[in-house]
């Protein structure tokens, strides 16, 4: 548990710094939530609310990366989920609760099936995860456009569907409730049952874990299935928030942001370990960073550049070779490659 907390210290420090910068720029209104029309508002609550689609996808991505995989298709699945739900609703009685329920279930089902398909490609056909999910990353948006017929279906503002993105339960915005629920379920499933350990075992060494009696193929498929499901759910929330589904631009590049959030949170891409809470902090950092850039008076074009710097710094700091190179002037060359221990990590970061 101690090592776990140490891992989270640096991402947390970055997040707190960003929040402090924002408070310095815009005052304490930034962090203090206010209540408007029976639901929580305020700058930081809005950041959290808008970050839920990315959070859901990043949580799913964390499980996939734990199995040494990667899922590039989540942005396309987001678009497909949004397209199915909106298209289903506008073709039927928009205010009927049954219609909404069917649309949501249908979209989530399709998203889960797509995820399972990705998992099966990886587990049974032995295709590299990047390649297997690249297929749907390219074809997926085409499928979403096929569903919407090239249009952008807009649901009416009175349909209960939009509550998924704009509503509130006991003053807490619905997306935040969903995000917390999904996080809690995944955290409980992976940390109180053996599932988390099995995921890490599969990511560490699939062949060895199979010989140890773990059904590694089933575990791999499950991870991709959950990731697809989360991407579909994210698409529903995004579509409900906007009231429409844009097959071309909905969730564009969200897969890259999600991978970035996972990596910031301390889950290495080599698999075998994962930190769900770290991912949550990673998502908060990315979304707060976007707002910070505007608040300190830089143009929104800086968002890409800032993200590039974050990717680069995180990637390089996670590299044992870079840390050894940095520490070379301070350490006698003994030839031993430093193990990626949390303590070592902290030491390197401190330099």
């Amino acid at each position: 548990m101690n090592a776990y907390l140490k891992r989270l210290i640096w991402p947390l420090a970055v997040l707190v710094t960003l929040i402090v910068v924002n408070i310095a720029q815009t005052g304490f209104d930034f962090i203090v939530p206010s209540v408007h029309d029976g639901r929580l508002g305020g700058a930081f609550v809005n950041i959290l609310r808008n970050s839920v689609p990315l959070l859901l996808i990043a949580l799913g991505m964390t499980l996939v990366i734990a199995t040494k995989g990667i899922d590039l298709s989540v942005g396309a699945v987001y678009a497909i989920g949004a397209a199915i739900a909106c298209q289903w609703i506008i073709d039927r009685d928009q205010s009927a609760f049954g219609t909404i329920l069917t649309a949501v279930i249908l979209a989530l089902l399709v998203a889960a099936v797509i995820g399972a398909w990705n998992g099966a490609m990886v587990a049974y056909f032995g295709v590299q995860p990047i390649v297997a999910t690249l297929i749907l990353m390219i074809a997926g948006r085409g499928i979403a456009q096929l569903i919407t017929g090239g249009q952008i279906p807009s649901v009416s503002d009175s349909t209960p569907f939009v509550e998924l993105g704009r509503g509130a339960i006991a003053t807490i915005p619905v997306p935040i409730v969903i995000g917390v629920l999904v996080f809690a379920v995944l955290a409980l499933l992976t940390r109180t049952t053996a599932l988390g350990m099995l995921l890490e075992a599969v990511g560490g060494n699939p062949a060895a874990s199979r010989l140890a009696g773990i059904r590694s193929k089933g575990i791999t498929i499950l991870a991709y299935l959950v990731c697809g499901f989360c991407a579909g759910l994210a698409g529903l929330i995004g579509a409900a928030n906007l009231g429409s589904a844009d097959a071309n631009n909905g969730g564009l590049w969200i897969e890259l942001d999600a991978i970035l959030a996972v990596v910031i949170g301390g889950t290495a891409l080599i698999g075998g370990r994962f930190f769900l809470l770290g991912t949550v902090i990673g998502v908060a950092i990315i979304e707060t960073l976007n707002v910070t850039i505007i608040n300190v008076g830089l143009s929104s074009q800086w968002q890409f550049t800032a993200k590039a710097i974050v990717v680069f710094v995180v990637a390089v700091l996670q590299s044992p070779e870079f840390r050894a190179w940095l520490l070379k002037p301070f350490r006698r060359p003994d030839g031993g490659e430093p193990a990626p221990e949390p303590a070592d990590d902290k030491e390197a970061l401190a330099k």
Partner: protein, 341 residues
């Protein structure tokens, strides 16, 4: 248990050494089927200009896909090419239109920058052992951000005479009117890149090193091959090709669009895979990449000729083709493993 499988196959067949040509053979067959199908369905499809247009509209993609072939053959991947292309075009526009720098200097500067940027990425990947996916992801964000900072709207380069050269056409077999075809200079640039890449990959030490590193990096290292130079070199090649793609795009449209080339890296990767190069590296041909680009271009042309089909079908078909080729490659490499053991 292993006694029965260790003996060598008793007879060699005609096709033993030809297994690596199967994917490219399938691609060429697909290309021929698509072309003949097009001729059968649309009378005007038989004009040679249809083929020539593939090398005009896809000149930038072809150049970038050739660079991507080097990277993928070495076992890596480069996600930054689309952003790099947009950044190059936008830099040329900013240098020539806003600052009045001579166009020749601007083009040379952009090509040098692309190469240096690739060198840097390659060095980070090799010496710090950062995954190519993450290192080039930083490039994807960085160059798109820099492009948008240079300008967030289209910049026209129509007034600069230098950029007229790119679309000057040369007639073949009597030109378009007499049943022949014509090609502009940008197509010759693209074809020159293909020829140079072919020679470098197959007839130079660097090229053979790319295949060796992609096949097995540790084996290449033990053989004494310059692994570091090769791995850094392929990203430099890819960076140069992406920048050249940007130059060609400047010639082609005579304007710079900050959102040009979004998702181009995926098209390039798809073209390379459809062309028979295996994404784990070590196997593939640069001429296969040409066939891959032609398949994707012909697909778009067919959809344009058909008229009723919407553009998103192109994406779906490319996805299905990718799936088919990846499964084919898996099947071939598995049967190859079985034969060897």
């Amino acid at each position: 248990m292993s006694t029965t499988v260790t003996e060598r196959p008793s007879r060699t067949t005609l096709f033993d050494g030809l297994g690596r040509y199967i994917p490219i053979g399938v691609t060429v067959a697909l290309l021929i089927v698509m072309y003949l199908g097009g001729i059968a369905a649309f009378p005007r499809f038989s004009s040679p200009q249809v083929i020539a247009s593939l090398f005009i509209d896809n000149a930038a993609l072809l150049i970038i896909a050739v660079g991507m072939t080097f990277v993928i053959l070495s076992g890596g991947i480069d996600l930054s090419v689309g952003s790099m292309m947009a950044f190059s075009t936008m830099s040329i526009a900013a240098l020539t239109v806003d600052l009045g720098v001579p166009a020749e200097v601007a083009v040379a500067a952009v090509l040098a920058f692309g190469t240096l940027s690739g060198l840097f990425t390659g060095a980070v990947i090799h010496y710090f052992n950062v995954q190519p996916f993450i290192a080039t992801l930083a490039g994807l964000f960085l160059y798109r951000g820099l492009t948008l900072q240079l300008s967030d709207h289209d910049v026209s380069m129509r007034d600069i005479a230098f950029f007229d050269w790119g679309m000057l056409r040369m007639d073949f077999a009597g030109g378009q009117r007499d049943g022949g075809f014509s090609l502009p200079n940008i197509s010759f640039i693209a074809l020159a890149v293909v020829i140079v890449a072919f020679i470098v990959l197959h007839y130079t030490r660097f090229g053979r090193g790319v295949y060796a590193v992609g096949g097995s990096e540790s084996s290449a290292l033990l053989m004494g091959l310059p692994v570091a130079r090769t791995k850094v070199g392929v990203y430099a090649v890819s960076g140069f090709c992406a920048a050249l793609g940007g130059v060609v795009a400047a010639y082609y449209t005579k304007s710079a669009n900050p959102l040009a080339g979004v998702g181009l890296e995926l098209d390039a990767i798809a073209a390379v895979v459809i062309g028979g190069t295996i994404l784990t590296g070590g196997t593939g041909f640069v001429l296969g990449t040409v066939a891959g680009v032609m398949v994707m271009g012909l697909l778009t042309t067919l959809i344009a000729f058909q008229g009723d089909l919407s553009s998103w079908w192109a994406r779906i078909v490319v996805g299905v083709l990718l799936l088919a080729f990846i499964l084919l490659q898996r099947f071939l490499s598995r049967s190859g493993e079985k034969r060897r053991t």
